[in-house]
């Protein structure tokens, strides 16, 4: 059986992103590197054949997803996942955690000027953040960090995909 097709079958059957090492479990003579190669081939194939789906990198893994231009058609069907848009408070809190992790609740509250307890609990329940450590010092406060699901939720491969502060260029925008 051709490696490319095996990888395709595994990706097709999965509803969540799979890491190359996980996909390699499908066959004894398949290495993670060969999986990556197969994925690259498949991507090109889908592109050339103008398929309605593509393989996207999400966090450590890959997943077959429909291409964005077909979203309007899919949205006419019933689905459970429609209402998962995050609030502004949640997005700001996530932004802080993404850039400052590991970060404590107090630091987050200081940065946003508002209480963060409720938002943090909500983000934790949704699996977008997790407690990664405890700080030294008084009370040893919990420190939060982002999860793999965070990357998935925003379609990121890694935290490096986030724009760097200097790219945003807002800090000095009217001060000059």
């Amino acid at each position: 059986m051709k490696a490319t097709r095996i990888v395709e079958a595994v990706l097709f059957a999965s509803e969540t992103p799979l890491a190359p090492a996980e996909i390699a479990r499908a066959s004894g003579d398949l290495s993670a590197k060969e999986v990556e190669q197969a994925i690259a081939e498949l991507c090109q194939e889908y592109e050339e054949e103008d398929r309605a789906f593509q393989i996207y990198p999400l966090g450590d893994g890959y997943q077959i997803l429909s291409r964005p231009e077909y979203a309007p058609y899919l949205e006419r069907f019933d689905s459970v996942t429609r209402t998962n848009k995050l609030s502004r408070a949640a997005l700001e809190t996530l932004a802080i955690i993404a850039y400052r992790q590991p970060v404590s609740r107090l630091d987050i509250e200081d940065l946003r000027g508002v209480n963060a307890a409720g938002v943090l609990r909500n983000l934790q329940e949704r699996g977008l953040i997790e407690v990664v450590d405890r700080a030294e010092g008084l009370g040893r406060p919990l420190l939060y960090g982002t999860t793999g699901r965070f990357l998935d939720h925003f379609g990121l491969r890694s935290l490096e995909d986030l724009p760097r502060p200097e790219e945003l260029q807002i800090a000095l925008r009217s001060g000059e």
């Binding site: 996207y56 964005p68 899919l74 689905s79 700001e92 379609g155 807002i170």
Partner: protein
């Protein structure tokens, strides 16, 4: 899925009159930043007196509109602004370094917050973009129609007419449902009658048919009784296979 360039337009809304809903803002820093950016004020040279006055006016009655904690956050910022304003009025000494401007700490906080506020918009764009990529299973399997949701083919008038004509519901008194008595002998007759018509019947045939437990129990006892008498024979071809009931040699009725 690449992150789009952050859009700035949303951070600054051009309105020169400050009729704002406090609830729309993510706390005092957000509101303060809105005041500064929407009036094109140089953040490094904030006219503290003016901004303080606007801020205080906007949060008037805040404790009635927001929760105690949220109101406290706005009031704390108001206090900070008033304190900075007072410090600005004090005569400045020449030997003070520039970074000791009483506003500098506030400016630092505002800029830092603005960065994350902007990032939140970037994340929102990324989230929307990701949401346009659907995974397998996105479309839910079709559910069988829920009977309770089927339309009632009856008009309200029809329904009321029937409802009115009905007698008042009787007062409920607890009562014991009588169990129809059944004896082993009756069941013995049943077994024998069945075996008269057929050479064999499956054992569970008689066990399954009874709605009440007492019937099944009596059937079972009757079968035991008949087997003991030799009126029936039981055969099973393999473990857990069908248990067949045959007419026995000692059956005096046949």
């Amino acid at each position: 899925m690449r992150l789009p360039a952050p859009s700035r337009s949303r951070a600054v809304e051009a309105d020169d009159r400050f009729i704002v809903e406090l609830e729309r803002f993510q706390g005092p820093l957000d509101l303060l930043l809105h005041l500064i950016r929407s009036q094109d004020i140089d953040i490094f040279d904030i006219p503290i007196a003016e901004i303080t006055e606007q801020f205080v006016r906007l949060i008037e009655g805040v404790e009635e509109r927001l929760s105690l904690e949220e109101a406290g956050e706005f009031l704390e910022m108001a206090a900070t602004l008033v304190r900075i304003k007072a410090q600005m009025l004090l005569p400045r000494r020449d030997d003070l370094l520039e970074d000791e401007d009483p506003r500098s700490e506030l400016v630092r906080r505002l800029l830092e917050y603005e960065f994350f506020r902007e990032m939140a918009y970037t994340l929102a764009d990324a989230e929307a973009d990701r949401a346009r990529h659907r995974n397998k299973g996105y479309i839910e399997p079709r559910r069988p129609p829920d009977v309770s949701e089927l339309p009632l083919e009856l008009s309200l008038d029809d329904f009321l007419a029937v409802a009115v004509s009905l007698p008042a519901p009787p007062v409920r008194t607890p009562h014991r449902a009588p169990v129809r008595p059944v004896t082993v002998d009756e069941k013995v007759d049943l077994w024998l009658r069945a075996l008269k018509e057929k050479a064999r019947v499956p054992f569970e045939w008689f066990m399954r048919r009874w709605r009440t437990r007492i019937h099944a129990v009596m059937s079972f006892l009757a079968a035991l009784e008949l087997a003991k008498r030799g009126s029936i024979r039981l055969r099973q071809e393999r473990h857990f296979g069908t248990l067949w009931v045959y007419r026995g040699e000692g059956d005096e009725d046949s």
